[in-house]
Amino acid sequence: AQRVTQPEKLLSVFKGAPVELKCNYSYSGSPELFWYVQYSRQRLQLLLRHISRESIKGFTADLNKGETSFHLKKPFAQEEDSAMYYCALRGGSSNTGKLIFGQGTTLQVKP
């Protein structure tokens, strides 16, 4: 079965501290992994996708097929990073609109 697990509901760090939001997935084929972010009172928006291999707002994520993980990392957290973060998986065709989302992790960056 396809499943995405985000083990932490809340992650609280101080400004300037490193951040790692955990994401583990279950999928038998080659998945496409995403991180979506939702800032307060804003809509869900794409942060990054593994196939792009880019850094957005200082965040990076590496797909580890051996550990079936796609953890989101940032070396120095900023207060504006406070938001809800969702890890999502797309299996099968890249044209499918079906994403499997984790339950989300709230990142709280304290001053």
């Binding site: 995405v4 995403f34 979506y36 809509r43 869900l44 928006q45 794409l46 996708r49 792009s52 969702y86 999502a88 890249s94 044209n95 499918t96 609109g97 079906k98 994403l99 499997i100 989302f101 984790g102 339950q103 989300g104």
Partner: protein, 116 residues
């Protein structure tokens, strides 16, 4: 570009009633997917529409149905509402073919349904 627009933003219904939610995709997008997001949960896929047909469906009962119009806009209909249908309903659009990265989902702000 207004992006993905959804209406209404909020609505309240009673058990047994029917509801219709509407979605206009982002300009240039031709595919619409619907998601249900219960409080404290991640979004769950309901179904996807392309070329006016349902192409893929998640684990939702037949009470959930949809439609896509020639202008790519879409409706989500839920019949015989249950208390458990209370949730945020998200519409996401994408482009099926074309530019690299065009098949990334763009989400609307959602319609919050409360069933009493």
């Amino acid at each position: 570009d207004a992006g993905v627009t959804q209406s209404p933003t909020h609505l309240i219904k009673t058990r047994g009633q029917q509801v219709t939610l509407r979605c206009s995709p982002k300009s240039g997008h031709d595919t619409v997917s619907w998601y249900q997001q219960a409080l404290g949960q991640g979004p769950q896929f309901i179904f996807q529409y392309y070329e006016e047909e349902e192409r893929q469906r998640g684990n939702f009962p037949d009470r959930f149905s949809g439609h896509q119009f020639p202008n790519y806009s879409s409706e989500l209909n839920v019949n015989a509402l249950l208390l458990g249908d209370s949730a945020l309903y998200l519409c996401a659009s994408s482009r099926r073919r074309g530019l690299t990265g065009a098949n990334v989902l763009t989400f609307g702000a959602g319609s919050r349904l409360t069933v009493l």
